[in-house]
Amino acid sequence: MNQSHRLPAGGRIDRSRSLSFTFDGARYSGHPGDTLASALIANGVHLVGRSFKYHRPRGILTAGSEEPNALIQLGLGNRTEPNIRATQIELYDGLVAASQNRFPSLEFDLGAVNDTLSPLIPAGFYYKTFMWPQRGWMTYERAIRRMAGLGRAPDGPDPDRYEYRHAHCDVLVAGGGAAGLAAALAAGRAGARVIIADEQAEMGGWLLSEGETEISAKPAVDWVGKAVTELAGMENVTLLRRTTAFGYYDQNWLGLVERVTDHLGPYAADHLPRQRLWQVRAKQVVLATGAIERPLVFAQNDRPGIMLAASLRSYIARYGARPGKALVVFTNNDSGYRTALVAHQAGIGVTAIIDTRMGAVGPLPQAARAAGLRIYEGHAIIATSGRLRVDGVRLGKLAASGDRIEGSGFGISCDLVAMSGGWNPNVSLFSQSRGKLDFRAEDGVFVPGQSFQPLRSAGTCNGVLSTAECLAEGLAAGAEAAREAGFANRKPAGLKVTEPECPAAAPFWLAPPEKPLARAKCFVDFQNDVTAADLKLAVREGFQSVEHVKRYTTTGMGTDQGRTSNVNALAIVSATLGQDIPAVGTTTFRPPYTPTSFGAIAGRNIGALFDPVRRTPIHDWHAAHGAKFENVGQWVRAWYYPKPGEDMHAAVNREVKAARTGVGILDASTLGKIEVKGPDAAEFLNRVYTNSWLKLGIGKARYGLMLGEDGMVRDDGVTVRLGEDRFLMSTTTGNAATVMTSLEDYLQTEWPELKVYLTSVTEQYATLTINGPKSRELLAALTDDIDTGNEAFPHMSLREGNVAGVPARVIRISFTGELSYEINVRASQGKAVWEALMKAGEPFGITPYGTEAMHVLRAEKGFIIVGQETDGSMTPGDLGMDWIVSKVKPDFVGKRSLARSDTVREGRKQLVGLLTEDRKEVLEEGAHVVETVLDKPPMAMLGHVTSSYYSPNLERSIALAVLKGGRSLIGKTLSVPMPDKVIRVTVTEPVFFDPKGERANG
């Protein structure tokens, strides 16, 4: 088919170029400037989808983003996207589109049986029907889900690219129609930084569809062109086309989505994102979001070929399409006449204008009369016909009350119906901004009332109707916004506008149908198949709140969020309740304004950019030597280093053995390190750790336990005294940043009198730990200025000197119970020093060990890991570490809490060891420990396993656990029930290896 329904001339399309596309497999053509909707109409295609519930044939209702019906499955493969509005899809060559919610075909859809059965599936059908038996829902849901939903989501990863963009401006203008352009001009001329965003491909809004309107004695589109050129020439103005302001959040923060390359089709521009999510912070906002035409609610008003009147005008004037040959206009206001006149001039036969009013006297009705158009005043459509396309309407004379028909109806043939129920200001963003809506009774609309953010509304979204008012409000709003943002400017000069006069009219909510309402199918919400009868049924069944009616009937839900239906639904509900519309209220608008793709929201936070991966300075060596890695927060640490043929168990056993018999080497660079400097540094440490620090000698190291103010263990680590007023504190890997900020917080807010400065040096140093009986010999081999003798360099002390030729701080401390040295060198030298240690260690059989072996080694010694043995509810006493809590210090963080009744009570969970009866059985970490095993849970639980490993040094499994009253249970046999068996364990002291601690001092 080749654009059989294209007008011979006119429209903002480039007729010199043709674009080919397919819809449901059939090939069509269109022109640049077309939307998929306008191109389909130009090819005579009105049937584009099936409705959600009844599978009724549906056509194109609108020409904008409010479209409820024409939802399309666009694109192929993993680029396919469901529920895209045909009215917003810009045509490109090779576009592939398909209809949705039909089987086997759009013309013959089996689901349409629902339409015949519709009297059996009224509002709330699911709630009423699928209730018994209760567990049956699991089955019903699967079937219902298969029936429901419209399009199909792709299965694989999205191949496209999406980006973020942050921006700031003085004035953000949402909407690029008459009011928006005027506002941007006024603000831009004042010198303000302006961002103007419009969802369409071209700025101009309705002006692009209104050939009759003149601004400054020229066609309106000329003014649009001049305005856009002027704005584009201003350095302080950013023009964003194809950009929807979808969310209005606190502090004038708005979310915009820019469709950067959608209009070019797939693979069009590889270096550009498909869409860009803008996060804009605006000093002032001008909302110029326009108005949405209100459909009329009448019997079978949903057939393909029935459209909104102004949208029809847009298809004729902007797209040069001819949506039909015989038009019936149904209206309650003068703008319907405007459509009739435009259609008439375009050569479309106007069969009838049906006006619900009597004696319309405005210039437009008069012009229609003068043109000889047939007008039925005080009439309404009472039925329509046509299976896949409207082919006729029946009308009747309205009684004076407007709620019934007098006499009998009669039919008129047609293939096109334009309906106009007036205009609803588009107040979605205003409402999102927390603005209050006021109801204007004369034409039954909600207009912006009190606002709570620095914003102003201008144009039809503010309730005005004429282009002249839109321009005047836009100029004023832009100038005011700029002034509020600090840019002085004069009142902008007005613009002279010539346009058809089209005043607001009293609303008309429901045309009385010929059939009883329950069978008449007067649709209110086209997307969700909600009829006037459904709304009345909901009220009859007791739903009075509009929010409840919405949820019960699903009116206003779906991808269009009731853009065309909300006010009609509200009016019908209020009329049924016998209340005023403001008393019934309106539903709240929430972001997003139109559906926004997950891709845009995810942005580039995918793959390698999903989260930073922090690697140590020695990482490359580990990787080159076959290390397996584990994640520790954002850090990636060497876990174990399997040799060919080794599994994890074998590798870890080998590493653990080596660290106790020869020498092992561990990359401990991730440990937090903080330099503490100042005359009060020792006093500061004395307050943040539980033990005493005042008398620690220079060059000495001490282990410390840090509590929260609740007395619970928060962190631990070794701190060394570098000088009289200088310490180097180490923290756990995971808590490095938290400890730093909480210590800084104490200094700034609790103890400002302390003269102490903190500086994080975590990443300044690589920390290489050598461990095992041969570690002294290894260290001695690589240093010429540190005396490594046991007396010269005792346990828990620091020496500074050269190691492998570079300056190093060497601390003799042990997390394994073995002789051990922690060598700190500049990060940039870490890898070279590691390699030197590996080389010098060869004669001693040096073995790199990872975090798993480190865990086993420390567990053999019963050393805790904060976050593994502790969970924010363990006191030092619970861990058997009372020895580190000073009894004499006047205060330290958490001291008072250690005397609370809860922290001193009997029966708290305490750290113990567990030994399984079967030496080979390794308990699962997290497994629960009970005294008495029952058939099934619940059972009285004593606590849980916190750490569990196989210990090659003890040739058996070991575990640490926290058990209620744990220390009193030592020697007892308890049970660990697992899904397949019960494991018997004996409670022991938590130290399994070298309980006297002789090895570290050797």
Binding site: E163, N605, R614, Y757
Partner: protein, 177 residues
């Protein structure tokens, strides 16, 4: 190379090894300010979010009592020594963090646009002129961001350098065409 850089809308480069010190001291103390200013050959910046370039070092205001000092790698030890000597009788802290941070530069006409893909700060010249410094987030990395004549310098913790490099390259794809 220099010509190529000029044609690049947004050029990304890792900065060479350099000296970086964290200085902490009481800026309300005139003696301390004078001692530091003498070493830096420029007044210590005390206005929030500002920096000051001296002969040997540039001082970046990080907080009311905290500065990042940038200098050539060759001057690092000398600068630390000189500051410690000048501040010997005062409560102050000078810590070498040269290896803690990796610097990057993003220069060219699209530099601010590139960074704005991950940085919520207003980088427009009217709001973020030369010499301005902030600590903020670039995507998920903490950065110290400095405006220079040709664009921006940013400093990230060493372990975030790889992520930052990946992120910058990815964000710059648009400008490489």
């Amino acid at each position: 190379m220099a010509e190529m850089m000029q044609d690049t809308p947004a050029a990304i480069a890792a900065l060479p090894e350099s000296g970086k010190l964290i200085l902490r001291a009481d800026a309300d103390n005139a003696d301390i300010r004078a001692a530091i200013g003498g070493v830096l050959t420029a007044p210590l910046p005390v206005e929030p979010l500002t920096s000051m370039a001296g002969d040997k070092a540039t001082a970046l205001w990080l907080g009311p009592d905290e500065w990042l000092l940038l200098c050539a790698e060759a001057d690092r030890a000398g600068l630390q020594q000189a500051l410690e000597t000048a501040l010997a009788s005062q409560h102050a802290s000078v810590v070498d963090v040269s290896d803690s941070y990796q610097g990057f530069s993003v220069t060219g006409p699209k530099a601010a646009d590139l960074l704005s893909k991950g940085c919520a700060i207003d980088l427009h010249p009217v709001a973020f002129g030369e010499g301005k410094v902030v600590r903020t987030l670039l995507a998920k990395a903490d950065i110290t961001l400095l405006r220079i004549e040709a664009g921006f310098q940013l400093y990230v913790l060493r372990s975030f350098a790889e992520y930052t490099r990946l992120w910058l390259d990815d964000a710059g794809r648009e400008y490489r065409g």
